[in-house]
């Protein structure tokens, strides 16, 4: 496997941890805090993270299913988040090989357009579905920015179980 110089070799990901983290993110999204347009979408960040790091385990179909759950919980048009999350994971999978060559804070810059596009898709879908005047709170701009800012944090936390204790010796420089 070709890896950037100095990058740690990771342990295999535990499927239980992957799905556990996704369900935890879903629960966090479902916390009844009231409508806050600037609130980052925890589930979107987690979905992008796993589709970048484990594209063979978590992909578009999983994103679709989680999107449906969010739609039902938020009493939104059924399929709206499902479509947005499917597109989000698709673009995450297309850029995952390039993305992993960068440090997390550089990855955040490249991920930002994806998050912005996801929010845009949802607004557009509401508009097409015949919402009279969709409430465009200007604070909604902060949601993708916060999601991109949280990307390095999520990278550190979600990769933590896969990091091994470093014990390099003469034969094992890694």
């Amino acid at each position: 496997m070709i890896m950037p110089r100095g990058q740690q070799l990771l342990l295999p990901a535990n499927p239980l941890f992957i799905w556990g983290s996704l369900i935890t993110a879903l629960l966090a999204t479902m916390l009844p805090l009231g409508p806050l347009p600037w609130l980052p979408d925890w589930l979107a960040i987690t979905l992008v993270f796993w589709s970048v790091h484990q594209p063979r385990r978590v992909g578009i179909v999983a994103a679709f299913v989680f999107g449906l759950l969010v739609d039902v919980h938020q009493a939104a048009l059924l399929g709206q988040h499902a479509l947005a999350y499917s597109a989000l994971t698709y673009f995450a999978i297309t850029i995952h090989r390039r993305l992993l060559w960068f440090a997390p804070h550089h990855q955040a810059v490249q991920i930002l357009p994806l998050f912005a596009a996801t929010h845009l898709i949802i607004v557009l879908l509401r508009w097409i579905a015949g919402e009279q005047d969709p409430v465009l709170a200007w604070t909604a701009v902060f949601a993708p920015l916060l999601e991109a800012l949280l990307w390095p944090v999520f990278s550190a936390v979600l990769l933590a179980p896969q990091r091994r204790a470093p014990d390099p010796d003469a034969n094992r420089p890694l």
Partner: protein
Amino acid sequence: MPLGTLDRQPPPFFRQGASALSRLLVCSALAILLMVSDSRFALIEPVRAVIATLLYPLQWLVLQPVLAVRAFGEYTESRDTAQQREQAAQAQLLAQSVRAQQVEQLRLENAQLRRLLELRGQTPPPATAAQVLYEALDPFSRKLIIDKGQMQGIAAGSPVVDAQGVVGQVTRVYPLLSEVTLIVAPEHAIPVLNTRTGTRSVAFGSAASGATALELRFLATNADVQEGDLLTTSGVDGVYPPGVPVARVEAVERQADAAFARIRCKPVGAVGAVTHVLVLAPAGADQPPRPSPTADKPAAAPAPRKGGKP
């Protein structure tokens, strides 16, 4: 390096399943199908109900800490606040009891007059108390989720009121939960009666200001509406019982070049911050059948134009 520290299954070269693009196409086609059938036809309500039932344990789990914090907040409320609240409740009770004493006589008089005019009697509709679980997080939809559903006999289209006035209407019923569309939602309209003048009109939810407000549309510039007028339900819709307070007129803008006045109203009920509501049965059951729509179309649809069917 010990075994088990690397992925021991190499990625398959040939059997990789469908490509990401084809998966995206299938998923987005399915999503669009769902959206179209959700907004145009009522085909997938069962799907939604099944997903909601599957999601219920998770929602219950998430609500527990929130309810615990709320209960803790109520428990540690200071004695002064509690006493103030009790005094306010006493004052309100006193004010209401004066009016309540007149009610018996008025009811008798009303019954006699109605018999005289051969009008149908009015019975207060049966009601179910419910707790608000959460407000929908989606900033586009002004909806509440309450903890009573099909199992408790809630029907779609039922009016929802709180202690002060109308809050909204049940638009979707799940086995254990229901969705309430607030009267301030832009897709919601409610027929109202101006208690000062007796004129009927329709109040539309208004999301333009982003706040909780209603709007009286299509009233002529010289219509007799003043600030502070109380609007109650008119009962012509066969959904809301007549006489329940809805809103108070807050601002009337009359412009010379516009055919209609801009009338903004503030809901009487605590639409944004309500925790307990009363779900009434739709009042339509004891009303005479409507005339055929070809004869004369009613000016306004009483129910939300999307979703709920009274």
